[in-house]
């Protein structure tokens, strides 16, 4: 006897909280919102909530950890009642600020490089020259968004007219809602796309990459990547007219898959008499300008659309069950919790077995 059990859990966690809240190094959320837009975009996507200022607050509060910030957004989001659903938002109505196609050199409406780091030289601004130049430049006047904004026809629509891509389903079934109903497998495509859109950027990119490298059949080409603001509408509860609530910035990718022959080959449709070969299609969407996630998501969607495909990207249950950053990081980090009871139970098993083996050895010695 004489042993005193460890107590004081409350004191310990209050002290740990104080170590965080006493820090004077917290970022200013408005600075985050302006100066770390791509991080804000990533956190809004993984947090499943389009709210740039709240995402910026979350990032500042989380010391810049995107997963912790997405966690804060989601926990806040789940306290908000669901008042309604928007009308389907068609990407063709996007106010495009950037638009590229890798399938054709020129496309109706033209390629629009827009604001991208793709062709910048990745040199650290050690001498401050870039920063000085940015200060000298007068800030760009925001372009007024009005109804005169040029509309860009969809590249996929042109391929559809030629019959090279299966026509879009005009069946308007009610989409799944993975925040209200648990995912079950096989999942409807709407649930798949929702889960991928909320998936952790790093995971989605890695899985998409694995398909590109040959873990499964996917040879993707970007039919179209477009980024810009999309009006979001609801149906007015009384007049039933569409009412625009506002616009959200997002990036949309339509991916063509063109493997030939064997698994992952272009799909043959039209029956034996008139076989027609078509491309497979994948769709990706990310909030803000998170282009790499939208591209990777479209590779994964395409991989899952290919009948008989294999590899991690085509494995719906594997990808969708493991892509959520809150779930993966929560469970991995829960290993920091005490496991005394369960470990004691495991110790009991191992010791019992060792004793059994020892007694077996003893018996064989005495016989010998």
């Amino acid at each position: 006897m004489g042993y005193t059990a460890v107590k004081g859990g409350l004191d310990a966690i209050l002290a740990a909280e104080a170590l965080i809240s006493n820090s004077t190094d917290r970022l200013d959320p408005s600075q985050v919102e302006r100066g770390a837009q791509l991080l804000v975009d990533q956190v809004m996507g993984e947090g499943g909530l389009y709210a740039p200022s709240l995402a910026a607050l979350a990032i500042a509060q989380a010391e810049g950890d995107p997963i912790e910030a997405a966690f804060l957004l989601r926990a806040y989001r789940s306290t908000l009642p669901r008042l309604g659903y928007t009308l389907p938002a068609d990407g063709r109505r996007m106010r495009v600020v950037r638009r590229i196609s890798s399938t054709f050199k020129d496309i109706p409406g033209g390629q629009l490089l827009g604001r991208t780091r793709d062709y910048t030289q990745r040199l650290l601004d050690l001498d401050g020259r870039i920063a000085a130049k940015m200060q000298a430049n007068t800030p760009a006047v925001p372009t007024a968004i009005d109804d005169e904004w040029p509309s860009f026809p969809s590249v996929i629509d042109m391929l559809r007219e030629e019959g090279l891509v299966a026509p879009a389903s005009d069946e308007l079934t009610e989409p799944a809602d993975i925040t209200r109903d648990a995912l079950r497998f096989p999942a409807p495509r709407s649930a798949r796309l929702q889960a991928l859109a909320r998936g952790e950027t790093g995971f989605i990119v890695a899985v998409g990459y694995s398909a590109q490298r040959g873990m499964g059949a996917a040879h993707p080409t970007i039919a179209e990547l477009r980024s810009g603001e999309l009006p979001i509408q609801i149906q007015h509860p009384l007049t039933h007219d569409p009412v625009t609530l506002g616009r959200i910035h997002l990036t949309e990718v339509e991916m063509i898959n063109h493997t030939a022959g064997g698994v992952g080959g272009a799909t043959i449709v039209g029956g034996e008499e008139t076989p027609a070969v078509q491309f497979d299609l994948g769709y990706g969407m990310a909030l803000g300008r998170n282009e790499r996630k939208a591209i990777a998501m479209s590779i994964i969607d395409a991989s899952m659309n290919i009948a008989g495909n294999s590899g991690p990207a085509a494995d719906e249950e594997f990808v969708l069950s493991h892509c959520d950053s809150l779930e993966s990081s929560g469970f991995v980090e829960h290993l920091k919790l005490p496991h005394y009871v369960t470990f004691q139970s495991a110790l009991d098993r191992v010791r019992f077995r060792r004793l059994a083996e020892l007694s077996k050895q003893d018996k064989s010695h005495s016989v010998g």
């Binding site: 966690i13 789940s78 009642p81 779930e327 829960h334 009871v341 077995r353």
Partner: protein, 301 residues
């Protein structure tokens, strides 16, 4: 839209939106609570069956008791007395944190360390040592609800196996375990058959606690937040650990050991290595241990 229509529409929307400045009672909005309660009712009606539900994100991390917490918050009211334990102790950091969250978001709830006083007990991986009554509800946090995961990783397949009560692969797995390891080597979270129908994971409670589930007077609710499943063992239900006649189920052995605090020889013990390297044992259920100590002190006085 006429002004009249507008007027009639506005208050309704405001009521639905709630007060954005304040969290709802017990954190979750009422629609979410209702959904969780429906899942709970279904779970009670089909003992051991895993009911999928739209698990909400909570202010504590996935994998840290978010499922148990949703069950607690959807069930609790101002008249309840709550006890929260983690690995047997009320004072563990995660137990403290969950208790603190419920206190903050559900005003009126009383909290206690005393098992007999509690109307609702949320626990991670332990049952209290003393038997529960029929006016108490036990809520267990569940990391991996699927007991068939050990033989089949896919939910689409395990769902069918449960539906058909096809548990052949589990039995073969346990048999192979005996052949390889000399006994069924599953430590905590030992699979059980509930109400002679569903194989269920009891959550990672030690084998010591399995008997407490069998024909328990109390209702047991199990919540897996990350895996989005709720299941239940109603009062007075058969809960039988899977075993073989010649390799019977065996609980953890503490033969020759006793609690270094209260001297108990009939409780689940934590093994402790103290500063000089010596090994000691102490009750995992610290509230029970404290009560025994207090009773001793009272007797001595």
């Amino acid at each position: 839209m006429t002004a009249e229509q507008q007027e009639s529409a506005t208050p309704q929307l405001t009521a639905l939106a709630g007060n954005p400045e304040a969290y709802n009672y017990a954190f979750l909005d009422e629609v979410s609570k209702r959904e969780i309660r429906r899942a709970l009712l279904k779970a009670v009606a089909i003992p051991g069956y895993q009911v999928p539900f739209g698990s909400r994100e909570m202010p504590i991390a996935r994998g840290w008791g978010s499922g148990g917490l949703q069950v607690t918050l959807a069930t609790i009211g101002p008249d309840d007395t709550l006890k929260v334990i983690d690995q047997g102790t009320d004072a563990g950091v995660n137990a403290v944190n969950i208790r603190r969250l419920v206190e903050r978001t559900a005003p009126g709830v009383t909290t206690t360390y005393n098992t007999a006083e509690a109307t609702l007990i949320q626990s991670r991986h332990r049952f209290p040592e003393e038997p529960l009554r029929d006016d108490q509800i036990m809520v267990l946090q569940v990391p991996l609800p699927e007991p068939l995961r050990m033989v089949e990783p896919r939910e689409s397949v395990t769902r069918q196996l449960h539906a058909e009560a096809d548990y052949t692969r589990v039995w073969v797995h346990l048999y192979e375990d005996v052949i390889t390891n000399g006994e069924i080597s599953r430590a905590a979270g030992y699979p059980v058959l509930v109400n002679k129908r569903y194989i269920m994971s009891p959550s990672p409670i030690p084998r010591w606690d399995i008997a407490k589930l069998h024909q328990s007077a109390s209702l047991t609710l199990l919540g897996a937040g990350r895996e989005k499943r709720i299941y239940a063992v109603p009062p007075y239900t058969d809960v039988i650990p899977l075993d073989f006649e010649d390799y019977p189920f065996r609980v953890e052995s503490f033969v020759g050991k006793h609690c270094a605090r209260c001297g108990a020889t009939d409780t689940y013990l934590d093994e402790i290595i103290i500063d000089n390297g010596e090994r000691l044992y102490a009750c995992s259920d610290t509230a029970h241990c404290d009560e025994r100590l207090a009773a001793h002190a009272g007797g001595n006085a």
